[in-house]
Each structure stands twice: as C-alpha cells, then as structure tokens.
C-alpha cells in the first residue's frame, strides 16, 4: 500500500514537473520583453521551416529608438546569462551590443537567445529567442552561413 502511494506521489510530481515545460521560455527573464508594443515589430513562428531553419519556436522583437528598452533587455539578459551554457558577447564602449546565449536544453529542445543593438542609421534593438530540435551550435552556424 505504501509503495502504491509512493508511486502515485512520484507520478504526481512528474506531472507537476511537466507544467513549467509547457512553455520553455517562461523561465527566462526575456519572456517579459516579448510584448506587443507600439514602435516594435514582433514575430512568432511555431514549428515552421524558415529559409532552411527548422525551428520549433522562433520569437523576435525589433525596437527602434528606445534606449530604456535596450537597457531593460540587457538587464534581463544578464539574469538569463547566469543559467546559460555558453555566452558570447561583443562589448562596445563597455556596453554589450551583441549577445549570444546558449541555454541548457529543456526536454528535447535546444534554446538560444540572440541580441543585437546598432546605432546606425538609427538605434535599433533586435532580440531573438529560438527553440529547436537541432543543436544550438548548428543553428548558429546556419544563421552565420546565411549572412
């Protein structure tokens, strides 16, 4: 009887463990950035082939002329960086202008975050979140190849 209760308890815990995985992006700070705002372009693609990329989830947001938004994203990324498997940055004048975070896998999905800020011709922020069944290194190589 005790063992039945034990197994049922384990099943319940496993079930509850699945809940946060329903949306793997929810555990990240950058999920707060992906909101439909005026002056921004947001894209969400699910299980789509995108010019050779095979993404389970693709989310991007582009914001123009908004310095506070850039600072906010950088703060979010700094927190998400703590749990990242691999971090690559380009720092310009002491400020990270380009960040690549390779996050630990969530289930079968590889996750990565790409951030970029340019100032010419206008200040432009681009933040991308990708979930893919393919290795995030391969996804990044593919992105670079397509340049």
């Amino acid at each position: 009887m005790k063992s039945i209760k034990k197994y049922l308890m384990l099943a319940l815990l496993a079930g509850l463990g699945i809940l946060p995985n329903l949306n793997a992006q929810n555990d990240l700070q950058i999920s707060r950035v992906f909101e439909e705002k005026k002056g921004s372009v947001m894209v969400e693609l699910t299980d789509e082939m995108l010019d050779g990329y095979d993404f389970s989830l693709f989310k991007s947001i582009t914001i123009n002329n908004n310095l506070p938004a850039a600072d906010f994203i950088r703060k979010c990324l700094a927190k998400d960086e703590a749990g990242a498997k691999k971090v690559k940055q380009v720092v310009s004048n002491g400020v990270p202008t380009s960040i690549y975070l390779q996050l630990p896998r969530k289930g079968s999905l590889y996750r990565l975050i790409l951030f970029n800020e340019t100032y010419k011709p206008v200040q432009k922020i681009t933040l991308i979140y990708i979930e893919s069944k393919n290795d995030s290194e391969d996804v990044l190589k593919l992105i670079l190849k397509k340049k």
């Binding site: 099943a11 319940l12 005026k38 991007s60 690559k88 380009s98 790409l114 951030f115």
Partner: protein, 154 residues
C-alpha cells in the same frame, strides 16, 4: 429465515447447515443464516472454530475494502492532475500561432511573417559573426606568436 437460539434443535439445524457449508453445498441465503447464527453471543464452545473461520473471512473482506479505498482516492487525484496537465498542454499549443505584430497591428500572412523573421535574423547574424571572428582570432596561433614576439626582444 433466521436461526435464533431457542431450543437444542436450532443448534442441530445450525450444525447441519455448517456441515453443508463445509461440503460446499450451501446457498447464499444459507450462508447468511450461518453468519447470523455465529454472530450471536453466548454460543456453545463447539462453535468457536466455526466462528473463527467465518470471522476470518469477514475480516479479510473488511481489510480488502479498507485497502482499495485510499488507492481509488489517490488514483482519482492523479487522474485529475493528469487531466489538468493535458488541458494546459492543449491550451498552450492552440495559443501558439504564427503571427507578426507591427506597431501593435497583428499580421497573419505567413510570407510577411517569414520576411520579418528573416530580417531580424539578418540584423543579428552580422554582429554574431563578429563574435565568431573574435573567437577565431583568439585561436589564431600566428597572431599569438606575433604578439609574443614583441616581448622576445626584452
């Protein structure tokens, strides 16, 4: 029909029924009669063994009933939680769609969405390449040797 202890003949009737029970010939009704008879207090000592046998079966039944009840309770809780998890999964999947939102205006045209997605990828890819180049430079032995050469004359 109930056997009530009134006369010695009732005991003999009970004896007959118990014997019939051990031979496996009793009906359900007769077994109930035996149980009723044996559940009475102040029975002669010779019925003690039969009492124990019937008592044992009764105990077993109660124990089985006891053990199944909590199992069903736990199973129902597990089933309920599983249902919630699956409903949430379906809800999340249906809410995940393909769209672009430009200045607060939603677009569902797949070609437009994809072109917006590619544009954002191009924005990032140029700078990400700089990161890669930087890492390549770090691994460039020739560059490191050149930099070390500066100190060789010291």
């Amino acid at each position: 029909m109930k056997i009530v202890i009134k006369h010695k003949t009732d005991f003999s009737k009970a004896d007959r029924l118990i014997e019939k029970y051990y031979d496996g010939l009793t009906t359900v009704e007769e077994e109930k009669q035996i149980q009723h008879f044996l559940s009475q207090p102040d029975l002669p000592e010779r019925f003690e063994v039969d009492k124990e046998i019937f008592g044992y079966f009764d105990h077993k039944k109660k124990k089985l009933h006891k053990s199944i009840l909590p199992y069903f309770r736990w199973a129902s809780v597990a089933a309920l939680l599983a249902a919630i998890v699956f409903s949430l999964q379906i809800y999340m999947n249906t809410n995940r769609s393909n769209y672009a939102c430009i200045d607060g205006k939603k677009i569902y045209d797949v070609h437009q969405i994809k072109s917006q997605a590619l544009e954002s990828l191009q924005d990032v890819s140029s700078k990400t390449n700089e990161v890669e180049d930087g890492f390549k430079n770090l691994n460039d032995h020739q560059l490191i040797e050149q930099q070390l050469d500066v100190f060789s004359g010291l």
